[in-house]
Symmetry: C2
Subunit: 223 residues, 2 copies
C-alpha cells in the first residue's frame, strides 16, 4: 500500500485465480504434504489470497477434494494385459492403492458421489470386465458399486491407520481381547480365532473380490 516496490515478489506474478489453478495447487499440496493439508485456508495461503476467494470457484472442501481425487485417478490403468480376472484385479487394486496413498482423500470417495472423467472411465472399464467375467448385466451394475465400495472402505480402514503410529498397538489390543475371550460367552469367535486375523490386506482384498464376483454371478437381482 505504502511502499510501491512491494508488488515485486519472488513468485513471478500472482496468477489469476481459476478452478484449474486451484485444483493444480491442491494436487501440489497433496503430493508435497498429504491430503490432510489440503484445506481452504492452507490453499489460499499457497495461492497468495484469502480463503474466501476460493469459494468463487469451488463449492466447498468436499468438492475440491473430489476434484483432486479424480485427477489422481488418472493413474489407474484403463486396460491391462491378461485375462479378465487379473485385469479386474489390476484396476480395482490400483484404484484402492491410489486411495491408500492419500488417506485424507479416501473419505471423500465415500461421502460424495464421484462423477469426474477418470472415475467414470474406471466404472466403464470395470463394467466391461464384469461382462467378460460372465456377470449378467443386471447384477453387474450393482457389482461395480459394491466392488468400488469395498475398495474404498478398505483404503479408509487401512490408510487412516497407517497414519497413526498407535494403530498397530490398537490392533494388537484387539487380538489380545479376542484371545482373552471365553468360549462360554463367545463360542464362535473363539472357534474362528485362527482365521480372524490371518492373511494380509492384499490377500484378503483379493479373496473379497473373488467372493464378490462369484456371488454376483450367481445372485440375480430381486424383481
Amino acid at each position: 500500500m505504502t511502499a510501491s516496490g512491494y508488488n515485486r515478489r519472488e513468485r513471478p506474478a500472482k496468477p489469476a485465480l481459476s478452478r484449474e489453478g486451484i485444483v493444480a495447487a491442491a494436487l501440489d499440496v497433496v503430493r508435497r504434504e498429504g491430503a490432510e493439508r489440503v484445506t481452504m485456508r492452507r490453499l489460499a495461503k499457497e495461492l497468495d489470497t484469502g480463503p474466501a476467494s476460493l469459494y468463487v470457484y469451488v463449492r466447498d472442501t468436499d468438492e475440491l477434494h473430489a476434484a483432486v481425487l479424480d485427477e489422481l485417478l488418472g493413474e489407474v490403468p484403463r486396460a491391462a494385459e491378461g485375462d479378465w480376472r487379473s485385469r479386474l484385479w489390476t484396476v480395482v487394486s490400483t484404484y484402492r492403492d491410489v486411495l491408500y496413498a492419500h488417506p485424507g482423500l479416501a473419505r471423500v470417495a465415500l461421502v460424495t458421489p464421484l462423477n469426474g472423467p477418470n472415475y467414470l472411465a474406471i466404472v466403464d472399464t470395470v463394467l466391461g470386465l464384469l461382462a467378460e467375467a460372465g456377470v449378467p448385466s443386471g447384477p453387474a451394475a450393482w457389482t461395480v458399486d459394491l466392488l468400488l465400495l469395498v475398495a474404498t472402505a478398505s483404503a479408509v480402514e487401512h490408510s487412516t491407520r497407517k497414519d497413526r503410529p498407535d494403530a498397530e498397538r490398537q490392533h494388537d489390543a484387539l487380538a489380545e481381547t479376542v484371545r482373552g475371550l471365553s468360549p462360554e460367552t463367545h463360542p464362535n469367535i473363539v472357534a474362528a480365532s485362527e482365521n480372524l486375523f490371518s492373511g494380509n490386506a492384499d490377500t484378503r482384498s483379493r479373496w473379497a473380490i473373488d467372493a464378490l464376483l462369484n456371488g454376483a454371478r450367481t445372485t440375480p437381482l430381486p424383481d
Copy 2:
C-alpha cells in the same frame, strides 16, 4: 473465587469425572444433538470443566467415539426369529441402521478397530449365523469382516449425504452426467445405465449381502 455463594448451581453438584460419566454425557449429546457435536470441547462444557481434563480418562476423540458407538450397538439384537438368512439380515441391517442414525459415528467404525463388548457380541452372532448358513469356517472369519465393512461403508455413504441437503441434487447431477455420456466413449456405462441407479438402499444392501454370502460359500481361502 470472590463470591462464596457462587458454588451453588442449578445442577445439584458437579459430579466427579470418570470414564463412565464422560461416555454417558457423550451419549446424551449424541442423542440430543447428533454425533458431530461430540467434541472434546463441547463435552467439557457439558461436564463443566476444560477440555484438558477429559484426556485423563480418554486417549483421544476417536477412542471416545468408539466407546459411544459400542454403547449404541447394544441396540443390535443378538438373536431373532426365523431362518438364518432373515436373522443375518436383521443383525446386519440393524447394525447398519445404528450407523445410519449416527452419521458422525460411522466414520470411527472404519477408522479404529472396534473392540467393545457389544461389537464383539455382534461378531460372535454373525459367525454363528454364517456357520448355520453353511459357510466354511475359514471363509466365515473373513466374511464377517467383509459383511460389517460393507454395512459400515454403506452407512457412511448414505448417512453423510442425508446430512447435506444438496446431496440429492448432487446425485441427480451424477445421473445427469451419466445420461449425457456417449456410447462411443463409455459404451458399458450407457449399456448398463438402466440398472446403475435402480433399487433403493435397502434392496441393494440386501442383494449385496446375499451375493457376498453366495460368494463366501463357494470361494475357498487361498493357501
